[in-house]
Structures are given as structure tokens and as C-alpha cells.
């Protein structure tokens, strides 16, 4: 399959099932769309000291995010392929670790500086007379690609070409700034641990759902009804506990989700709506609101607290919520297999209850044992099987059509418009066609 054939699977108001089902499309997608996109790699709070690293897979590549020597300036975080230049062994198989000044391959002891340059190899005299100095191994570890860091969030793009980081992210960076300013120090910290779910469906089915405020009323009826019934039966005075406040809004009707609004942005990105704010209960917790106003000024503090988007999508790899401060990261494994990660943040200098709220949300809504996620995952896996049915090969994305150039981002839309999904697929087709240097 060539990229033109793949891009033709996306039409203005419908997409062909092969984008979810074809292993060939998946391989091409990893090499072009994913390698050519600014992907979320990690957060610099995961690697506070020089030599600290994490490992993961990005666009099908084994990758290591490592903090370089002190004084490395803007390039303080390196994103390297986790592949020894000698025989291909991974430098580390741990999800996170620390290298003391040098990375050392466990197989034959080749060593690398923290920026990936080859530092030394045992029995160096044995290489004399060979053409080692002209081979690729002398360059050490291969960089994954370009790296950009914004407010601690680390992104990287393997395939050069296309818009620079700030241009690609556009308005999303202002959204990220607002989220970070939930901290009196302007910094978020990854905390508490990550929940991971593996499911048997294509990653795009999940990412569509992140922007699909049309589904909760039917998909999540069992969870929202049960929560509502149990809470009513308690007949207690006073407001519901936070756990209930997080579950009950899933019962909201189409009007609520339509009115919460959304904004579609170039390159597949988007901002979807606001909840009736969960954060208000924390505004004055332990002097939090006061600390925020002292740090950022009253206006900025109010703006940061008021910004509570349902989902900010950093297409194609990540989505953030504002309140609670949680993040979902997609890790495609195969055309029909995906890992979802749910991360939590502690705004530095804010009360620990903000982290507690984020972790509560993750386990109630994104855990593999979440009663909300169960119906989602069940339907995603069913879609993956039933899309292959004979007959109609198209997935309809017609709702909220305005037609022609008016579809183009940036644009403010209803929270239940499928333009949010059409916007993802416009970027998908562009990403499949994008011309860029080969993956380094």
C-alpha cells in the first residue's frame, strides 16, 4: 500500500474501515503519521537528576529519555534509541533507572555519555586496522529525532520536516500553560504511578472516543444510573463525596455536552469543553487559592482555576484533562492492540488533595477495573470485530457538517459535533502524505 492509497481511505464525512483493520495501514501509519508527529515522550519530573532515564516505545522504536549532564542547557533532555551501537542490545530493559555519568551496555560493556556519544569500548586496541572509524557504531547511540520541551512536557519527532514544535502545537501550549499554573510554582510533577490497560482494538477508536461527547448517555448508562440510584437511596444531607461527583456527570444529556463546547485546531489537535468544575472544592484548601493568587496574580489564578477542559488532545499520542490533572497516553502495539496509560500530576506547591483527586479519577474512569471504562472497552473490542462485516465498509462521521472550507480549523464547535473526529482524520490523511526526511 502506498501513502496515497492510505490517505484516500479518509473522505470528508466518512472513513474506510481499513484504517482500523489493515496491518499494512498500521505499519505505514507508524512510519509516517507517528514518526512524523510530535509525540509525547515523558515529563522532565520523571528524570530530575543527570543520568536519570525512562524507557518506552515510540512509533515502533525502542526509546530512552535521559537527563544529560548538568549545564546542558535547552538540550538537557535527550531522547535516544535504546539500542547499543555494537550488537543491538538495549542499554536498559527497566522502565526507569539511573546511569552514573555513563550508560553502560550490559552485554559487552560499551559505554556512552549521557547524550549518547560513544565514550569507550573494552579492548580498544583490537579495533586497530579495521574500518571501525568509518562505520556507524563510532557515532554511538542514534537520536530518536528532534526534541522539544514545554513546561516539563517532553515531545519528540522522528521524521524531520513539517511544522516546528511551537507552530504545530499552537493554542495547545496556552492550554498547557494554564494547566501548569494550577501550581503556585508553575510546575506539574508526575506522581502516584501509571495505570495501564491493554485492549484488543485500534488506537484510533480510543482517540476518537476521547473527543466523543455523544456516547456517555448511551454507553455509560449502567454506571451513571447505578451511581445515581445508590446516591439517591442514601438520602443524605450535604453534597455528594468527590467519588460521586466524578461519576454522576456521566448521566448528563446531549444538551449538556453540546453546550460545553469545543475547539478544533490544526494538525488534529482539539480542546473539548469544561465540566462543572470539580476544582472549586479545592480553591481555598490549605490556602491553595491564596498561594495561587500570590504567585500568578488574581487574574491569572482565576483563569487557571476556571480552565477545566474535558480533554485537550495532543494528536495523535496524548490527551490531558484540566481538573483533575490527569493525562492519557496511547501506545499502539499492533493494528488491533493498544495500551492506554493513565497518568496523574501533582501541581507543585499545591495541597496533596489535588493528586488524590487525580488518582481517584484515574481509578474510577480509566483503570482496567473501572466500571466506566468497561463499557467503552467492550464496545471498542466489538467494533474491531464487527467492522469487518460484509457490506458497508464505511464509518459515518457526518454529524455537525458545515461543508467545504468552513470545516477547517481553528474553529469553535458544539461539544457533540463529529467535526472533532473529522478534524483528527484530516490530520491523519495529511500525516500519511507528509513529505519529510526519512526516519533517522
Amino acid at each position: 500500500m502506498n501513502p496515497q492509497d492510505a490517505a484516500a481511505l479518509v473522505q470528508p464525512y466518512q472513513v474506510h474501515r481499513d484504517i482500523y483493520l489493515s496491518p499494512e495501514v498500521f505499519r505505514l501509519e507508524q512510519d509516517r503519521l507517528w514518526a512524523g508527529s510530535w509525540l509525547f515522550v515523558g515529563h522532565d519530573s520523571q528524570v530530575p537528576q543527570p543520568g536519570d532515564y525512562t524507557t518506552m516505545t515510540l512509533a515502533g522504536q525502542p526509546v530512552m529519555m535521559i537527563r544529560r549532564e548538568a549545564g546542558s542547557g535547552p538540550g538537557a533532555i535527550a531522547v535516544l534509541l535504546n539500542r547499543c551501537a555494537h550488537k543491538g542490545a538495549p542499554l536498559s530493559t527497566a522502565p526507569a533507572g539511573h546511569a552514573d555519568r555513563y550508560l553502560r551496555c550490559p552485554y559487552h560493556g560499551w559505554t556512552y555519555r549521557l547524550d549518547g556519544r560513544l565514550a569507550g569500548l573494552p579492548v580498544k586496541a583490537g579495533y586497530e586496522g579495521s574500518d571501525f572509524d568509518h562505520g556507524p557504531a563510532q557515532h554511538g547511540l542514534t537520536p530518536y529525532g528532534e526534541v522539544a520541551v514545554h513546561r516539563g512536557f517532553v515531545f519528540a519527532r522522528a521524521r524531520r520536516g513539517g511544522p516546528a514544535f511551537a507552530e504545530c502545537m499552537g493554542e495547545l501550549l496556552q492550554a498547557l500553560d494554564l494547566l501548569c499554573d494550577r501550581s503556585p510554582q508553575g510546575r506539574l510533577q508526575v506522581a502516584g504511578g501509571v495505570l495501564r490497560t491493554e485492549f484488543a482494538a485500534n488506537w484510533k477508536i480510543y482517540l476518537e472516543n476521547v473527543n466523543d461527547a455523544f456516547h456517555p448517555i448511551t454507553t455509560h448508562v449502567s454506571a451513571s444510573q447505578s451511581a445515581g440510584d445508590v446516591w439517591q437511596a442514601q438520602a443524605q444531607d450535604g453534597p455528594p463525596p468527590l467519588a460521586m461527583k466524578q461519576l454522576l456527570p456521566f448521566a448528563s444529556g446531549y444538551d449538556f455536552f453540546a453546550q460545553m463546547g469545543a475547539r478544533v485546531l490544526p494538525h488534529g489537535h482539539s480542546v473539548l469543553g469544561t465540566w462543572a468544575s470539580l476544582h472549586t472544592a479545592y480553591a481555598d484548601l490549605g490556602g491553595y487559592g491564596e498561594a495561587l493568587r500570590a504567585a500568578h496574580g488574581a487574574e491569572r489564578a482565576a483563569a487557571a482555576l476556571a480552565f477545566a477542559p474535558q480533554n485537550v488532545v495532543f494528536y495523535p499520542s496524548m490527551a490531558l484533562k484540566g481538573a483533575p490533572q490527569v493525562m492519557r497516553v496511547l501506545r499502539p502495539l499492533a493494528v488491533d492492540r493498544t495500551v492506554l496509560e493513565a497518568w496523574a500530576f501533582q501541581p507543585v506547591g499545591a495541597p496533596p488533595e489535588l493528586l488524590h483527586s487525580a488518582l481517584l479519577y484515574n481509578r474510577q474512569v480509566f483503570s482496567p477495573m473501572s466500571m466506566v471504562a468497561h463499557d467503552d472497552l467492550h464496545l471498542f473490542e466489538g467494533i474491531q470485530r464487527s467492522l469487518a462485516a460484509r457490506g458497508n465498509p464505511w464509518v459515518s462521521l457526518h454529524r455537525g457538517a458545515v461543508g467545504g472550507d468552513d470545516e477547517r480549523p481553528p474553529r469553535d464547535v458544539s461539544g457533540i459535533d463529529e467535526v472533532l473526529l473529522r478534524n483528527q482524520y484530516r490530520a491523519w490523511a495529511e500525516g500519511m502524505l507528509a513529505v519529510g526526511e526519512e526516519v533517522v
Binding site: V194, L195, R196, S222, V230, H356, P368, L377, H378
Partner: protein
């Protein structure tokens, strides 16, 4: 029953009965095995110490257990069509603490849990920790903690209490 009457056999029988309630979908009876302040906890990492500040797959009090149990029986719970089933294979429980004076009892029970849902089987080994006290004339759970071997790994959907 008073705390002084509790025997090791009572404690071991409680654990077996608790698992049987889950396997036989007797959820209301199962929920009644908890003390009013009782929690069910399934951490997302080994050696977890803090259910509020560390990620968990589940940390349910009476209210959330009631919601979950109701949802499992809801006719509009899509993922329960057809209704799933679960099975606990328990190793012999070890009584770790039997302190009638403090009204505190604790057991450790390794297990293999199997869940069948929509034609798919999930098998998860782990260890269950039961912290009990005598309340209202019977043994009741203060905490059931479940440590899965795969706690920090990507997991498929698991819908029932383990």
C-alpha cells in the same frame, strides 16, 4: 460471636466463604461481609502503602462497592452481555494475626483468579490479605487487599471483584 470466640478455623472459613460469594454472584451477601468502614483495595504497584497518593486499580468503600455491584446487575451494562463469570482458586490461608483483645485478625491467601467475559478468559495470580474484626456478632472485613502479580503491568478489563 465475640472476639474471644474466634478460632483459626473461623478465620479460614470466612475467606473461603467470601470467595464463594463472589464466584456465585451473591454480591449483596458479599458486601455485607464488610464492616461499615471497610475498604476493598487493589493497588497498581507492588509494595503499595498509600491508597490515596499511589495509583490503584480499585479502592472502594461501601458506597462505591454498592455502585459497582448494582452496575454488574444492570440490564444496560453492555459489557455484561452475556453475563461474565469468575472463579477463585485459593491456596490454604495462613493466619497472620489473631488478637482477640484488640479485635484484630489477619490472613494471607495466595490465589489464582479467572474471569470469563464475552468468550475471553483472563487469569491473574496474586495474594489476598484479609483484615477482619468482629462486628455486629460476626467477622467483618476492615480491609480486603489484593496484590496481583501483574499489578503494574498493562491489564485487560477485569470486571468483578477479585
Amino acid at each position: 460471636m465475640n472476639p474471644a470466640d474466634v478460632t483459626a478455623a473461623d478465620l479460614v472459613a470466612f475467606v473461603a466463604h467470601e470467595a464463594r460469594c463472589l464466584d456465585e454472584r451473591r454480591w449483596d451477601e458479599w458486601n455485607a461481609l464488610f464492616a461499615p468502614e471497610g475498604w476493598y483495595w487493589l493497588p497498581a504497584c507492588p509494595d503499595a502503602t498509600d491508597p490515596l497518593a499511589q495509583a490503584s486499580h480499585l479502592y472502594d468503600d461501601a458506597l462505591l462497592r454498592e455502585v459497582r455491584v448494582r452496575r454488574l446487575q444492570s440490564p444496560v451494562a453492555h459489557s455484561q452481555q452475556p453475563a461474565g463469570r469468575c472463579h477463585h482458586l485459593l491456596q490454604a490461608s495462613e493466619v497472620l494475626l489473631c488478637d482477640p483483645d484488640a479485635n484484630r485478625f489477619e490472613l494471607r491467601t495466595p490465589f489464582i483468579y479467572t474471569e470469563l467475559r464475552a468468550g475471553h478468559t483472563v487469569t491473574l495470580p496474586g495474594v489476598a490479605w484479609h483484615q477482619l474484626r468482629v462486628h455486629d456478632g460476626g467477622l467483618r472485613l476492615v480491609l480486603k487487599r489484593v496484590d496481583l502479580l501483574h499489578a503494574d503491568q498493562p491489564l485487560p478489563a477485569v470486571e468483578f471483584y477479585i
